[in-house]
Subunit: 324 residues, 2 copies
Amino acid sequence: MNIDMIRAAATRLKGHARRTPLLTSPFLDEIAGRRVIVKPECLQHTGSFKFRGGWSAVSALDEATRKRGVIAFSSGNHAQGVALAAAKHGAPAVIVMPNDAPALKIDNTRALGAEVVLYDRPGGENREAVGDVIARERGLTLIRPYDEPQVIAGQGTTGLEIAEQARELGVENGDVLICCGGGGLTSGIAMALEAEAPGLRARPVEPEGFDDVVRSLITGGIETNNRQSGSLCDAIITPSPGEITFPIMSRLCGPGVVVSEDQAMHAVALAFKRLKIVVEPGGAVALAAALFHGDKIEGEAVVAVCTGGNVDKDVFGDALARFA
Amino acid sequence: MNIDMIRAAATRLKGHARRTPLLTSPFLDEIAGRRVIVKPECLQHTGSFKFRGGWSAVSALDEATRKRGVIAFSSGNHAQGVALAAAKHGAPAVIVMPNDAPALKIDNTRALGAEVVLYDRPGGENREAVGDVIARERGLTLIRPYDEPQVIAGQGTTGLEIAEQARELGVENGDVLICCGGGGLTSGIAMALEAEAPGLRARPVEPEGFDDVVRSLITGGIETNNRQSGSLCDAIITPSPGEITFPIMSRLCGPGVVVSEDQAMHAVALAFKRLKIVVEPGGAVALAAALFHGDKIEGEAVVAVCTGGNVDKDVFGDALARFA
């Protein structure tokens, strides 16, 4: 796992992934007390940065392997990112989802060209067991959501763009806040910044109660969350940082920041009002940290990555009703 | 009014106006039956394309004139665009608004650095009379919302970007649909496309009951709307096309398209769900035409300009509840 892999992924993504712009608002600057610069990956294909990792992984396969197809375990943004990336390569994709996943997510993933295989989560069926049988039978390649070098390389292209775009805005020093699940995006961005913008420092942001990465960075060992569900920030809830991602974050990242669910919802509302983008609560924790935890941040400007926008209309409406 | 003025405006806007990306979604393509490409000017500074015209006009003034300041009559997107453009130039801006304008719009315009002067609309006071006195006393330059060459030139830079960005996507033929008020944006884009992408044709889109431009293009003379208010698409409601903009549209534009308010609201909801952008109803009529009036459109791909995102949360919530 090195910067050359990220640069190679950027070459493969060119013309396929969207180069998202940087967004700003004087109203957000006033709240934060410093310049706030948002990288809206909610505008990426499939509504999250996950398309980058999906494209990177699928495009890195040799032709024969790619033709057999890929498989992923996800009911969320990773599923859609892999599905569309595979479809655009003309490669079959199997997405393994729990049978109690929202019908809309299943439908969306199918509409993006993937075959959805359901496993009986409430009945205690093991998804890996289900997936492994299919993968072996068809010779599918597993694409893990974050602990996978080519996925990290794809997510890291976000960091290459931030380095270049922030420089155009005259920002070469400060913190880059990243909504963090398993650490694929955070570790990829950290490596890209180390190489291309050493004055910018990657820092993970997590919601209260699901701060495994933040605690892991403090203790120096891989920590685990007690709960695995029950957060509005579901898009970025993972049990613990990855075995590949954690050492990278440990070496390169500044301290993590924890925000409350209410702060995440408030950031969702402000992104609606001031930036005109749709962000899911989990994708808004970095912006929430930039706006409401300024005392923990260094520098005259801060970059916040809004990682995804796949939010239910009721949750979004609730954020607007309470905070817009 | 010519293409050189648009190119010169683009030079002045570089590094100041945002170069908005083009957005797409396979889900929208399926609804429309062709490729749908969205130019999201809701992501422009102040949440609408109006910042371009504001910047163009303010930056075109000579130093001494600019220092005296500018004045605009608007309670909407033009007010905010001019206010921020003037503030960033260090120029005073007076915005004349009716005293029954929403408090939020007044506050936002003030927060962007402008002096807001209220006139008594319910009491029948004439805004031009109020504004003219101030303008004369202070030597302010009036910036009209659309019938103003440097404003048209600024809006036209959107067309230069569309020409270049559409070419990158392999789209060189087809219709470019534009939410149309007085025609500043539509005429500017039409001129830019004539010069830079002659296979792309500008076409205005308006809401039912406020289709002055569409009718004017049919009759060949300037037609007027019976009503001046009462539309959810308030951002693009004007009495009639401008004296400068209409001849340009008449020479260069394809036939206009009229959409219903419900279709505009449906497009607002689909832009939320599939593109993760916040669009106001008036800023969504072009997308609505692309999605729901495909029979009136030619070409394998269609470009729709989403012109603004300054929508009240209640209106937005209503669109989601009904159509998302």
